[in-house]
Symmetry: C2
Subunit: 414 residues, 2 copies
């Protein structure tokens, strides 16, 4: 018998029929004797419907009232799911975020959980009932309703699992796990049985949209085993999907877990900047002041006492960043600004590369053999990223996927 | 400067456009320096939409979960109205029933308010903000969400007005006040400027659907002046509509305030029951046990030691009541059961009739002069009711309306 926290997202509860299916899954877990806490999102489309109502009144609705409005979406789902469970003879009770004392700060629309009182939930579990909790919401210390921001239901589930010291937190979604890369780009992509928190963070931040990054961080921090799995299949065991946990000793580790990529980046370079201390700050200061987030940063020193400074930004910020940079370049007496938004970033991720030299050079060799020119390189302990021309995305991902043997169906945990 | 509690029902907040109109009205009150608490219902159609979702899952959804579900309807409205007020520069804050501590018993779907903590609301009013409260809902002592049943928003408004000792509780609706009778039956019906709580109770229970009966009782009990007025006009003064209050000394009182009628009744008679003590209970006991509510009751003693016993029930219960009665009649050795669902009840209501004899006989005379046969009569201190054949409804109401001079536009409060 285990204590499981399950989270079902918007598409998983997108209709009465889907909610009934979720109730079947939860019932199956109860029938095995597990204690179950279920966290649900708003039915898909509902949050957008409410947002549209608000914006009809005020394009920039006030944060506090927007939270009062949006939090009703999850409240509808908890009631319907609890009804569906009771109809199946499964004792269940629904709770809003406030009712189970999910305390947050008061940053409306993007609040952070500061505390969960486990007493209330534990008491209901001990009484043999399934606890159905509204995700995405909480209350601040004055009792105002807050929301955690889009996707915050994952965070609610992980936070509850941490507070209750649950055996596993299962995130049910519309995909059946985490893949070695995006199957739309590489059809040979393979589902991973396991992945570490660190790898998942790198995969998530690089564009795998399976899980909210904050939820993964939270799970890692409190060591909550996290499983991503599909709510659409008929598996009632919860043993499929991908398990995200810490690296276990003695576990044979693959060199590379997966290949992430990001199509939303654009690259900007200031060429021929007179090199002196503080030049990086003089360039990036105005960019940051314009509220533009920078991803990769590279600086090369040239031969003539000047330097070339390159960084990437989100493609949405490209035009603004270019404007800022042209002004800065003139002030600094730089030669010119070059800008390119037809690029992509491809990254190899794997905790295994910590102990294996040569992963980076193997990566460059594979890309070179396909005639793909690398425009930028950046590395971290468990990741190597390259920026290449947009047109090489599919070719590059497939070449690396095959070059590192990711399509093989050898299970990592064997 | 006064403290006003305003309540806007479902059609008054039925669309974003209507909510904007309500915000205009509230703003106008604030601009005059009044303190305002606004109670709102769910947008019209929303409660039915939610109910349909629930019933798709379970035709008899559990009460607790149904309340969690339905209470979201008002929560959406409070957020949207608070946004609309803020857009107009009016400081405002929304609260669910639980957030302003509207404590109820735990009778889900038909809870009764047991206590309201005025501290929270008072503090926000003192800070110069408009308080927007979700009607129809509260929490029980364990923090479970409860609802007061359909129309309960009126009760919320009156209870808040009582707790805050407000100067007036204004119920905005889709009619512009209480009329001497239903204008669809008598186009000459006139809006009353004032009416007493007792008269309003008689009018409401007899079929005028303007106000929830519980709200009127509550207002009477706590002496909260209640005003019914239209949310659809452009009046920004709140001095129109009908004011419901206690009779004031020296106030010239009309004999008759209005004519109510009820088309939903049916009449049942047991003829020739052997008369002995307890016969009324023997007849009505089984009817009550079948959960059938009885309205008027009349018993006449016959010459031959038998009695005729007549009562009315809601037309929906007619068939069941007849079945029960036929069984009872046989047991009691009664001669026969006669039943008629083609009847209506017409009632004269007015506190003035207390001090004036002869109202009843004047009523019977007017009806007789139109050739209308009276089937049953029942009187109370401020009401005379007659049952007549259904086909005489319009004729009877118009004859009485004109016979008692109700169409004259003499204002009662002059």
């Amino acid at each position: 018998m285990a204590l499981i926290v399950q989270k079902y997202g918007g598409t998983s509860v997108g209709s009465v029929e889907r909610i009934e299916h979720v109730a079947d899954k939860v019932s199956a877990f109860r029938a095995k004797g597990h204690e179950v806490v279920v966290v649900v999102s708003a039915m898909s489309g509902e949050t957008n419907r409410l947002l549209a109502l608000a914006q009809e009144i005020d394009p920039q609705p006030e944060g506090r009232e927007l939270d009062v409005l949006l939090s009703t979406g999850e409240q509808v789902t908890i009631a319907l799911l609890a009804m569906a469970l009771k109809k199946r003879g499964v004792a269940a009770r629904s709770f809003t975020g406030g009712q189970v004392h999910i305390r947050t700060d008061n940053a409306h629309n993007k609040a952070r959980i500061v505390d969960i009182d486990r007493q209330r939930v534990s008491a209901v579990l001990e009484a043999g009932e399934v606890v159905v909790v509204a995700g995405f919401q909480g209350v601040d210390e004055d009792g105002n309703i807050t929301t955690l921001g889009r996707g915050g239901s994952d965070t609610t589930a992980v936070a509850l699992a941490a507070a209750l010291e649950a055996d596993e937190c299962q995130i049910y979604t519309d995909v059946d796990g985490v893949y070695t890369t995006d199957p739309r780009v590489e059809p040979k992509a393979r589902r991973l049985e396991r992945i570490t928190f660190e790898e998942m963070l790198e995969m998530a931040s690089l564009g795998s949209k399976v899980l909210q990054i904050r939820a993964v961080e939270f799970a890692g921090k409190y060591n909550v085993p996290l499983r991503v799995l599909s709510s659409f299949d008929d598996d009632m065991d919860g043993q499929t999907g991908t398990l995200i946990s810490y690296e276990e000793e003695g576990m044979e580790q693959a060199l590379i877990s997966g290949i992430a990529f990001n199509k939303d980046e654009a690259k900007l370079t200031v060429l021929g900047v007179p090199d002196h201390p503080g030049v990086a700050h003089q360039i990036l200061g105005p960019v940051g002041a314009a509220n533009i987030e920078v991803d990769m940063i590279i600086q090369n020193v040239g031969a003539d006492g000047t330097t070339d400074f390159t960084f990437t930004v989100h493609r949405n910020d490209f035009a603004r960043a270019k404007e800022v940079l042209e002004r800065v370049a003139e002030e600094l007496g730089a030669r010119e600004v070059s800008a390119d938004d037809k690029i992509v970033k491809i990254s190899l991720v794997g905790v295994g590369m910590r102990s294996h030299a040569g992963i980076a050079s193997q990566m460059f060799e594979i890309l070179a053999s396909e005639g793909i020119n690398i425009r930028m390189i950046s590395t971290s302990e468990i990741k190597v990223s390259v920026v290449v021309d947009e047109k090489y995305l599919e070719l590059g991902v497939r070449a690396l996927h095959s070059g590192f043997g990711l399509e093989q169906s050898i299970e990592l945990t064997q």
